[in-house]
Symmetry: C2
Subunit: 326 residues, 2 copies
Amino acid sequence: MEKVTMADVARAAGVSKSTVSQYLNKRYEYMGEKTKQKIEEAIKTLGYQPNFLARSLKQKRTSFIGIIVANITHYFSTEVSRAIEDFFHQHDLQAIVCNADDDPEKEKKYIEMLRAKQVDGLIIFPTGQNHDLYKNMVEQGYPVVFMDRKVEESLKVFSILTDNTESTYKAVQRFIDKGHKNIAFVVQPLRVSTRLDRLEGYKRALKNAGIEINPDYIVEADIPDMKAKLERLFSMEVKPTALFAANDRAFMAVVEFLKEKKIQLGEDLELIVFDNIPFAHLLDTPISFIIQPAREMGFKAAELLYEQIKQEDRTPEVFVFPSKMI
Amino acid sequence: MEKVTMADVARAAGVSKSTVSQYLNKRYEYMGEKTKQKIEEAIKTLGYQPNFLARSLKQKRTSFIGIIVANITHYFSTEVSRAIEDFFHQHDLQAIVCNADDDPEKEKKYIEMLRAKQVDGLIIFPTGQNHDLYKNMVEQGYPVVFMDRKVEESLKVFSILTDNTESTYKAVQRFIDKGHKNIAFVVQPLRVSTRLDRLEGYKRALKNAGIEINPDYIVEADIPDMKAKLERLFSMEVKPTALFAANDRAFMAVVEFLKEKKIQLGEDLELIVFDNIPFAHLLDTPISFIIQPAREMGFKAAELLYEQIKQEDRTPEVFVFPSKMI
DNA sequence: TTGTAAGCGTTATCAC
DNA sequence: GTGATAACGCTTACAA
């Protein structure tokens, strides 16, 4: 195993550790040409590999940043993460992606682990249940950016969101314009702000059109239970003619259900989904998607985090990126 | 920012650093109950968070492992990575995923970076162009497992592969059984073993059936150039009636092309793809997929790496997981 | 231009 | 049971 250390190189080159360190950090302004060469050679022959851990300990930065995703199975999350990774790769930082799996305990564990391992900052898709932790980080001035979901208003933090209510409102409006009256809304448990905001948009659109909100048309269920609830929805006397899926996972559940029941998309039912799915353009079905500008959002988050890491002070702000329907 | 260190806790609790360390490592066999409580209290009031970096430096392990993926845009890669992450999560190690983007230079950079940062081991989807580096790691006894693609035979390493040639052979055989004679093979540059092996299976199947291999039916191109080459393929006098896409990216390019040209899948052309794609089951098109047991492969790789990390010696071996067509 | 020595925050080995 | 003290491998004043 590797054991060659800077001291070995120094010895081999007949110089001191500090000189080697200078060399490694490319500070050869005032370095003798021969010293430089001797070091170079020693490194080669010994096969020396610097230990960044030791450096990090000293410098108090690891060039790692963490991304804690509430649920990685949302395509949106992976798109955003990828954008963040790309940004940091350009700045020679490495992103570490952790999946909290919608579990606040796991989220907590990850936040603590990453902080213990001294990552330089965190971008979090919050589960929303760890306010104290969030607050703690913010108060300590630890670089952090929240993504996708709101955290308690009182926390002064950088957040990146999309216009959930607005976009949903417009989409449902579209259904209404087309003459739909029986519009279903399918969503996972309303624990998080995105889902609540989208529901709000749905309700507002109906209200605005003078359509009564029928609670039976609002299907709230965990993915495993969704099928059963959909079963109930589609066995109602007055079946919905349009359906809004509040995210990609809900959408998947719906499509699977429809396939099974042989309900024809476009004919028996119109569908709008909040979120993009990979290869959406491959489907030649008449589904509309509300697409968040994932890459832009990711880049912005990365940029905001990077500024904090570089200690460029700036008051926290919430950035809202509008989504587009296609 | 956080600055509370073990020394602070020790001082506050009126004990020595070593005792605190004992406490943190849950070695309270021989620890006075009151000392324990004093430490506990000091930690609480100071809000002490241990610094794992320092510990890692001392213990020479970081509880990080790296995954270097040749190209993360292959769905297979993300499936495998996820399985690996899951495995290590159970063992309290964190995976760091890096995307080499099919670029050997980038791969090299990542390998060096991760090793410099002292990750405990590496699972690599090799680009294949960094033999010296690979060799170097193996010779130094650094824990490493190769995934998906073969590296030079001479290297005695753990590898996880699928039966590329066999599976392709069978698939093409199926085309032939159905009466197809003009079977195209679409692939990205034949730089890597998987693609070569799949091509080998294709050729063998044709040969075995006494069908002459027509080089014009073998489309080898980078994704951006693929469209042009497909254009050429489908403007031949004798158009292919069946097409084998050597991976998901090639498949995507093909489907886009077909859509544009309004060529009907199933009617004008039959399609088999090597690789799964997300939501494949949503498509109600008559496409066959050759699916690698990604999770199993990932778990196996993780397990093999973990054994190495735990210093459980074992001679390197190549594991071949059969794929299945659906 | 190069060397000395003191950290960085832990853990580990011994004494006591 | 607990505490000095020396590592771990590097960076960084400060000296020389």
